[in-house]
């Protein structure tokens, strides 16, 4: 069996960083990354980007050496992706914050509202309902992170956790401040009926969103990174796959729309709007990759809103 020689150069300076000899032809990029890590302990595998071309795309961990367009002396280029943090850690932190922060406002912890309101509770039943819904939503997200989702990337850049937490925690605090405020005004336009309908929409979309997460999880065997086209299952909540590529986002939008209606609170409307914009960007991206990857992708589907967007 012919062995390969692998040299790894810095993509920017072209300095020779590492030379590996007697590399098995069936070695994967992932294994090469571990070997590189040994000679450069500060660059753990997750922060290595290995490419064939200094400006090219990153090679995948699963790529096998002998199947790459390289000679028996393979030259790869390395770029440092910067400090990395695991997706699970980021999700738990960014979702744990809103759960706890909202409750602090709900129970009117000191230094938020005027001292005479400390540890009092609102007299409006919709405020209690909103707290239950908000808490349920983030609890669901935390549990899904731990038990449902199968991530294709293990890590993301460290700076993302600051950006993401600012977004989630900031908005959660902003919304919670008003909903739990002593001067909060419950829905006036259609009163109790509005809250009831809003609750139904919210719950429907929570179940829908969960159904989609389960369906997506079942597409992917444990530990794998395979990608398949999602299709409707026996669960009626997944039938929306007929019309939409990313129904998880559709249902998420629906949930927050319901919550906005329930609380009749402008900051919640802002949060819903910003989330909608971001999810639309993501949905369009995902839709485009589906189209690129699969020839037989169902043509009726839109990224996030049936027929519209």
């Amino acid at each position: 069996m012919k062995h390969y020689e692998v040299e790894i150069l810095d993509a920017k300076t072209k300095d020779k960083l590492c030379f590996l000899d007697k590399v098995e032809p069936n070695a994967t990029i992932g294994e090469i990354k571990s070997m590189f890590h040994k000679s450069h302990p500060q660059w753990y595998a997750a922060r290595q980007s290995i490419r064939l071309d200094p400006k090219g795309k990153s090679l995948k961990d699963e790529d096998v050496l002998q199947h790459l367009p390289v000679g028996t002396t393979a030259t790869f280029y390395f770029r440092d992706l910067g400090a990395q943090i695991s997706w699970v850690t980021v999700f738990l932190t960014e979702y744990g914050g809103p759960l706890l922060l909202y409750l602090m406002f709900y129970f009117r912890a000191p230094f938020i509202y005027a001292p005479k309101y400390d540890f009092t509770t609102s007299k409006h039943w919709v405020v209690h309902l909103a707290c239950m819904c908000h808490s349920f939503h983030y609890l669901k997200r935390l549990l899904e992170t731990l038990f449902v989702h199968r991530f294709s990337h293990g890590t993301m850049p460290l700076r993302n956790i600051f950006k993401n937490c600012t977004y989630y925690w900031g908005f959660a605090a902003w919304m919670a401040y008003y909903i739990n405020h002593p001067l909060y005004t419950p829905p006036t336009i259609y009163g109790e009926q509005q809250v009831r309908i809003a609750l139904i929409i919210f719950l429907f979309c929570q179940v829908g969103n969960f159904s989609i997460h389960i369906a997506l999880r079942n597409l992917r065997p444990p530990g794998s990174k395979t990608r398949k086209i999602p299709y409707p299952t026996k669960n009626p909540f997944t039938w929306i796959f007929l019309l939409v590529s990313c129904p998880n986002y559709t249902y998420e939008l629906g949930s927050w729309f319901g919550f906005t209606l329930m609380t009749q609170c402008l900051p919640v409307a802002f949060f819903t709007a910003v989330g909608f914009i971001q999810m639309t960007v993501w949905a369009k991206g995902k839709h485009r990759s589906y189209l690129k990857e699969f020839r037989d992708y169902p043509p009726l589907r839109s990224p996030i809103l049936p027929f519209v967007l």
Binding site: K55, Y178, I179, H181, L183, Y184, T185, T188, I189, T263, Q264, C265, L266, P267
Partner: protein, 243 residues
């Protein structure tokens, strides 16, 4: 932080790698030349207006009133520059340009116009003069660049005057916002209080204070960015490489 606007630079603020440069076609170039000539003329009008008013009144106090209308017109007109970036005829970042222009427009309308009491402050003259000189240079820079005939003097001015004009403008802006604070607090200008049926509140006074605070991280970044640009653009005189 709007004093000398950053405008078109070749450094990539975009995070998309090789973006296919559409660049302006012939029609777009013609339009841009006209736009930049008009803006140069507009700010010259403001400059002349300031000088004339000074000569007539004999003092530099209260000159704002003599150029109020052209200032509002031409500064607001700069909003078009956001559109130019969005459409792609100008290779700048929409976000950066938007931020620059909107902060100018904010100072013009939401502070100076809205709080009458600050209009007679000297700080207004400070930032208006800084803006005026900067914009005359900047728009003529663009005009000449588009016509592929950029005199070195204009290039030098664009990348040198900011050294003084930027801090001058920022000082004027901050002093003006500061002067507006007591009136905003007293009248509750642009503020919304609870309770209301949309469960929302906004305190313009606090917002203005936060705006002032935001200058602390933002101004040095923009200033040093311009200094780095200056080094790059004016460095061709060097005979030997320093790095």
């Amino acid at each position: 932080m709007s004093a000398p606007a950053i405008g078109t630079t070749k450094t990539a603020h975009s995070d998309v790698a090789p973006k296919k440069k559409r660049g302006p076609g012939a029609l777009a170039t013609a339009y841009l030349v006209i736009y930049n000539v008009v803006m140069t003329a507009g700010w010259l009008v403001i400059a002349v207006g300031l000088v004339r008013a000074y000569l007539v009144r004999g003092s530099y106090h209260g000159l704002y009133f003599s150029i109020e209308k052209p200032l509002k017109f031409f500064q607001t007109g700069a909003l078009l520059e956001i559109l130019h970036c969005a459409v792609g005829i100008v290779p700048s970042s929409v976000v950066l340009t938007g931020f620059q222009v909107l902060s100018r427009v904010f100072l013009t309308w939401a502070v100076t116009h809205s709080v009458r009491e600050v209009q007679s402050e000297d700080s207004v003259l400070l930032f208006v003069s800084a803006w005026t000189i900067t914009e005359i240079i900047r728009y003529s820079f663009y005009t000449f660049s588009l016509l592929n005939h950029l005199p070195y003097l204009i290039k030098w001015a664009r990348y040198t005057f900011f050294l003084v004009l930027y801090p001058m403008g920022v000082t004027g802006e901050l002093l003006t916002i500061y002067a507006a604070l007591p009136y905003v607090q007293k009248t509750g200008l642009y503020s919304v209080t609870l309770p209301n049926k949309y469960n929302f509140s906004f305190d313009y006074y606090t917002f203005l204070i936060l705006t002032m605070v935001s200058y602390i991280p933002l101004f040095p970044q923009l200033y040093f960015h311009m200094m780095r640009q200056r080094k790059k653009v004016l460095a061709h005189v060097e005979e030997y490489k320093t790095e």
